[in-house]
């Protein structure tokens, strides 16, 4: 029907190798990005930006990083929260210890520092895999919690252990209004999403997928497991680290290690599993599900209660939110174990010859 590649002939290799080979896909994604840059700032209010859109964008970036490692390379990690913390604290230290440090450089250096730590904590992946690796990466979580709580140097000897950053600016553009913060995050996420998409289509991404599908076979056809696994850890940690730095700098402004607790690691892993393992789009779906749904539930429930004339207590809403959220996770995992991204793919297939997916 609408979504069909009939008649779109590729006459060059370049045309055949572009990111979106189907014109409709390309226009849809470009339209979406244009809407995010132009439409959203006109529509959304301050609350939407600060409480929903900015956390969503930043956690999407983190989920994207985790997806590269878990979804594409098949290495389960429970240390994502810790890597976010490393990114945030590293960027913070680059920012305050080096005079005149540009903001973007600090954020990226935070990512680089995280990549280094990611390689270090990725070394066990060379010997252990699966659930055992997940347990090994937990070490990262506990180590970082300890380091940022106990070693005063990381927090610039702040007595309470809480650090803060403000007056963000890039090339004289001071990022303080919610719209500016949103756009700043959006630029990052768009750039990183394209970077990730291209990585997964390139030789390195194919190596990761080969390792994921069967590491022995991959080794036989000449893929070096050490290189592939550690590069996945490095790239994934880089993404997660930049997300952590953005989370601290742009979203929170002031943070403590509890902001990157083990809960955050689980949250990121769930985003990837619910969104769809091995799918760029899925990272966004997962982040939307985990970030936005609880907030929406929290606001809809009192309105629903008022509709039928029942006043639900604050605690009641909080409990109901957990119950509904939990059952929705179970529901989606039963209906579509491959995640929300798979639902998206089925929807696209259905559009070819409504209503039959093929």
């Amino acid at each position: 029907m609408i979504y069909r590649e009939n008649g779109q002939f590729k006459t060059t290799y370049a045309a055949d190798q572009q990111i979106f080979t189907i014109a409709q896909d390309k226009w849809f994604v470009l339209g979406l990005i244009a809407f995010a840059f132009i439409g959203v700032p006109m529509l959304a209010d301050e609350y939407m930006f600060r409480a929903i859109l900015i956390p969503f964008l930043i956690l999407s970036l983190a989920a994207l990083g985790v997806n590269l490692l878990v979804g594409y390379c098949g290495q389960i990690t429970l240390g994502a929260g810790a890597f976010m913390a490393i990114g945030a604290y590293a960027a913070y230290n680059f920012m305050i210890r080096i005079d005149g440090m540009p903001l973007i450089a600090a954020l990226l250096l935070g990512g680089v520092a995280t990549a280094g730590m990611g390689i270090l904590f990725g070394i066990p992946s060379l010997r252990v895999r699966g659930l055992y690796l997940a347990v090994a990466t937990l070490a990262a979580q506990f180590f970082c919690d300890w380091a940022f709580l106990r070693l005063g140097w990381f927090t610039n000897y702040s007595p309470s252990g809480s650090v803060s950053i403000s007056n963000l600016s890039v090339f004289g553009w001071s990022i303080d209004s919610p719209i500016e913060k949103y756009l700043f995050c959006l630029i990052f996420i768009v750039a990183f999403a394209f970077f990730a998409k291209n990585l997964t289509r390139a030789s390195i991404g194919r190596q990761w997928m080969a390792i994921r599908d069967m590491d022995v076979a991959a080794e036989v056809i000449g893929i070096r497991p050490m290189w592939a696994k550690l590069s996945a850890f490095a790239v994934s940690s880089f993404f997660v680290g930049v997300a952590g730095a953005l989370w601290g700098f742009v979203h929170l402004g002031s943070w403590e290690p509890a902001a990157f607790s083990i809960d955050r690691s689980f949250q990121l892993l769930f985003m990837v599993i619910i969104g769809g393992l091995g799918s760029i789009m899925g990272s966004f779906f997962g982040a939307a599900f985990i970030v936005i749904l609880p907030v929406v539930l929290n606001q809809i429930l009192p309105a629903l209660g008022a509709l039928v004339g029942v006043e639900i207590s604050t605690a009641g809403i909080a409990h109901a939110e957990f119950i509904i959220f939990g059952s929705l996770i179970v529901f989606f995992l039963i209906v579509e174990p491959h995640g929300l991204a798979r639902l998206w793919a089925i929807a696209k297939e259905k559009l070819r010859l409504w209503p039959f997916p093929h």
Partner: protein
């Protein structure tokens, strides 16, 4: 197929509803003063934060039965944070848009996050008995109000009390004092002051952190058993406090040698332990359990008597319930003071309320009129002193209720002031804030 259409209908309904929820609020136009309420009714601090929230809300209801603030009715809306910083920030953003007068986050972590946001939005933060200790310096922290006391006041008074027990400040030399603290900004706040005092008097300060939320403390109390400190200061909150006291009981550490901060000195912390907690003392943020205060009786008659009470009737007058009442009273009086300058019977903005909070002057007579005679000492704030009162006292659990067991202590300004100035100056430098001068204060 039937299920699909049901799901579709639900989805459409939820979209419609969310549009209704997100639509702009019209409340600001009516003559109503809106107070957001951040609550911790679920999560690790629920047993303690729930009475606080009930007291906070009940006092607003009481003011409304008396005709509001010079005729301006109070409205409020709760938002649940579960003591999590990110949820707290979300709540702040949500309620801010509805014309918030001021915020009381009831969490030091959330306070740290909001301290960066409040100056931009021009909304005052009252952190009565918690928050950043250096925010007492209103010249730098223009929007923070740690009214009635900070953790540095608490720590200072605790050391004074210990010295008194030992029979003089000079007896502190060579003693061992352990701080068992919630490992978060909340628990770490008192450390700089205690270190300063340790240097002054030559006692040995031992820092024993407890990982949040504090239900696992075996290792910490093993250290206490090995080191046998002369006194234990307990910086606990929520489920941590009761666990600590039980562990002390199991370790055989005398409860008489333990002093809790005012957040670790309420009924939920000791009730279930009963006699086991006998002798355990805690600081009182001026007030204790006040079943006989006039304001308590007023709330019982005018709010609970009319079936409007928020929580169970039995908790009215308990320690943390009173903390909520006192916090709400300070907020309401801030608005009332602001009305004196900006127009009686008008709705105050956040900025106007700040002026009121900065110029609070509640003397004994004003407090008695409000029903707080014997509950609080006079509170007087200024542009440079956002705390208003450095006094505290100690109360002790006798197995059934909390009784005052000490006179009033005043935090030593010679210790407190330099620390506040040093920390706030450092903050101002980091943030490139120019402290307000006395002239700017008058505006």
């Amino acid at each position: 197929m039937k299920f699909r259409s049901l799901a579709l209908a639900a989805a459409i309904a939820s979209v419609g509803l969310s549009a209704a929820v997100f639509s702009p609020d019209v409340r600001a136009q009516a003559k109503e003063q809106f107070f957001p309420v951040l609550t911790g009714r679920t999560g690790p601090v629920a047993p303690n934060a729930t009475p606080w929230a009930n007291g906070y809300v009940d006092y607003f209801k009481l003011v409304n039965t008396k005709g509001g603030i010079n005729g301006v009715k109070i409205t409020f809306e709760e938002c649940e944070t579960a003591y999590a910083t990110d949820r707290g920030v979300e709540c702040y953003e949500r309620l801010k848009g509805k014309g918030a007068t001021l915020f009381q986050p009831l969490s030091t972590g959330i306070t740290f996050a909001l301290t960066e946001k409040a100056p931009v939005d021009k909304i005052p933060l009252i952190t009565a008995g918690y928050g950043r200790s250096e925010s007492q310096n209103g010249a730098v922290f223009s929007w923070n109000f740690p009214l009635l006391g900070t953790y540095w006041v608490g720590a200072d008074v605790a050391i004074q009390h210990v010295a008194k027990q030992l029979g003089g400040v000079d007896k502190l030399k060579g003693k061992k004092i352990a701080l068992v603290y919630h490992d978060s900004p909340y628990g770490k706040e008192p450390i700089p002051l205690l270190q300063e005092r340790a240097k002054m008097h030559g006692f040995d300060l031992q820092l024993l952190p407890v990982a949040a939320p504090g239900v696992e403390q075996k290792a910490t109390w093993l250290q206490v058993r090995r080191e046998r400190p002369d006194f234990v200061l307990l910086w606990g909150w929520g489920v941590m406090t009761a666990t600590s006291i039980k562990e002390a009981q199991a370790t055989g550490y005398p409860r008489e040698k333990m002093i809790g901060i005012w957040w670790a000195g309420a009924e939920p912390d000791v009730k279930d332990i009963g006699d086991g907690a006998k002798g355990y003392s805690a600081l009182a943020l001026q007030h204790g359990a006040e079943p006989n205060a006039k304001v308590t009786k007023d709330i019982l008659a005018a709010v609970h008597g009319k079936g409007q009470g928020t929580g169970p009737k039995e908790e009215v007058g308990s320690v943390l319930y009173m903390r909520g009442v006192v916090s709400a009273m300070l907020a309401v009086e801030g608005v009332r003071k602001a009305q004196e300058r900006y127009g009686k019977g008008k709705v105050m903005t956040g900025e106007q309320t700040r002026w009121g909070l900065e110029n609070l002057n509640l003397d004994d007579k004003a407090l008695a009129d409000l029903g707080f005679a014997g509950v609080l000492r006079p509170v007087q704030t200024s542009c440079t002193d956002h705390m208003g009162s450095p006094w505290a006292r100690i109360h002790t659990w006798d197995g059934k209720k909390w009784n005052f067991s000490s006179d009033w202590y005043q935090a030593d300004q010679k210790v407190l002031r330099p620390l506040v100035m040093a920390a706030s100056t450092r903050y101002a430098e980091e943030k490139k804030i120019t402290p307000r001068t006395p002239e700017q204060c008058k505006q």
